[in-house]
């Protein structure tokens, strides 16, 4: 097999690229920008008008830079040795999660979940659960994960994750780490950047393991730069074990959120059942809400 990249790529792109943007997209941009002021630099206007002003402005900028440098250095000297990473407040709940049960783009899903039983046969091991009340949705269904979201609490999640393996805070491999449930529990307990409750025995769907609550410590070094809040660190990751992997999932926790993780043993691998509370103070309430779903889990081994 060979590929003439130029030719084949262009042919594929001709097929894969949508021809047109949706009409509402341009309308939305124009509506947003209609009343939005542009960034204008008064300094640049002045520079264009006068060489004298330009020289003056240059001097002022240089003075300001020197002043900023002096103030910055003195501030750093005052704080050196005692400074902690800046802590941001817990983030507001996301406003961009649809609650209409529509599948994410290019995904298949179950959509809005009414009261009833649902089976996820792509998951390993296949799992059945019962939704006891309206108000949940499943916007994606594939690849190593089951995701259920309550419609009235955007950001809260119930996740089932297969084949979990420990990751460092920066989401790199943990050299030599075993990928069993007990190894993952020990790994989490040993993390200095996390607050982890003592493990308690748990059993869900006839699988046994341990349960811990996990939050990130306020003084944790920031492991990941692109999270809803900071500090933010990676916990675990998994990849499709097939010869040609088709999915990867990664689990993170950030300041202000909390996870209740059931770490279950499945034939020497770790299966996670994760209750994520966007607002850590709501973890117990969310856990109580999802308990009937957890009680209904049946893993078909």
């Amino acid at each position: 097999m060979r590929i003439d990249t130029d030719t084949e790529m262009q042919a594929w792109i001709a097929d894969a690229a949508p021809r047109e943007a949706p009409d509402w997209l341009l309308e939305s941009v124009l509506r947003t920008t209609a009343d939005l002021p542009q960034e204008r630099s008064a300094l640049r206007g002045a520079l264009r008008r006068s060489r004298w002003l330009a020289a003056l402005a240059g001097t002022a900028v240089a003075a300001a830079l020197i002043l900023a440098l002096v103030v910055g250095i003195s501030g750093w000297l005052r704080n050196v040795g005692v400074s902690a990473p800046p802590i941001q407040p817990a983030p507001t709940r996301p406003s961009d999660i649809p609650a209409d049960g529509g599948c994410e783009a290019d995904r298949q899903c179950l959509g809005l979940l009414g009261v009833g039983s649902y089976s996820f046969e792509y998951f390993h091991p296949p799992v059945t659960l019962r939704i006891p009340e309206d108000g949940w949705q499943n916007r994606r269904g594939s690849g190593g994960m089951v995701l259920l979201e309550p419609l009235d609490a955007p950001g809260d999640e119930l996740l089932l994750l297969e084949r979990a393996a420990p990751r460092t805070a920066e989401n790199t491999l943990v050299p030599g780490s075993a990928q069993t449930a007990s190894a993952l529990v020990a790994w989490l307990e040993g993390r200095p950047d996390l607050d982890v409750t003592p493990p308690t025995a748990t059993s869900l769907g006839a699988l046994s393991g341990s349960m811990v609550d996990v939050t990130v410590r306020d003084d944790a070094p920031d492991g990941l730069s692109d999270c809803p809040a900071h500090p933010c660190v990676a916990l675990a990751r998994a990849q499709d074990p097939a010869e040609m992997p088709t999915w990867v999932w990664e689990l993170t926790v950030w300041h202000g959120s909390a996870l209740r993780i059931h770490i279950l043993d499945v034939d020497g691998t770790a299966l996670l059942v994760v209750v994520r509370a966007w607002d850590a103070t709501q973890l117990d309430a969310l856990a109580a809400r999802v308990q009937p779903i957890l009680d209904s889990l049946v893993f078909n081994r």
């Binding site: 341009l26 542009q38 994606r140 999915w247």
Partner: protein, 182 residues
């Protein structure tokens, strides 16, 4: 462009209308997700309007817009991947890898291989093969030195070839068979 730089919103509307389809197509290819592409294009065009007065050379508007789009795609890709436990996967396809005897690669095989690339590599390929930029232009759009842009494009093409060849050897058996019943 000069009118838009001076605050003429109608002039900006014309620029945006002329660009939006191309930007949307590029963002969809880079992010492989239409709703994320919506966000990226909106972000890039709104930033363009706000920042237009600071554009030094009106002749560089197109290149600048590409850079804004690439930055928006990167931001969205990062946010998307960190918001929660995130699955990245290929869509369910029937196995289809083309006919090795002809040397012609099936487009679905390219699609599967393309999805396996990093967002940076996808960006380099889209800028080259969809937008039609030169290597220096790609480097500017990706805010990297020319040498880095050249190697990124080279590696992207190399990885694409490797992934397609691996896909071919696997006979398309990597496709997920996600099924459920309610």
């Amino acid at each position: 462009v000069e009118l838009a730089m001076q605050g003429d919103h109608e002039a900006f509307s014309a620029l945006a209308a002329a660009s939006v389809d191309r930007l949307y197509s590029a963002a969809t290819l880079i992010l492989r997700d239409r709703s994320s592409a919506d966000d990226a294009v909106q972000d890039a065009l709104v930033r363009a309007w706000v920042g237009l007065p600071r554009l030094r050379d009106p002749g560089r508007f197109e290149a600048w817009l590409h850079r804004l789009l690439v930055n928006a795609c990167y931001d969205i890709a990062r946010t998307r991947s960190r918001r929660r436990a995130e699955v990245q996967l290929l869509p369910a396809h029937e196995p289809s890898v083309g006919d090795p005897s002809t040397g012609v690669v099936d487009r679905e095989a390219i699609d599967r291989a393309f999805r396996r690339l990093s967002v940076e590599h996808r960006t380099a390929l889209v800028l080259r093969h969809y937008i039609g930029l030169s290597v220096p232009e790609i480097a500017r759009a990706m805010s990297v030195p020319v040498g880095t842009g050249k190697s990124r494009l080279h590696h992207a093409e190399q990885r694409l070839r490797t992934a397609i060849e691996a896909d071919s050897r696997a006979g398309g058996r990597s496709q997920p068979r996600d099924r459920w019943s309610a």
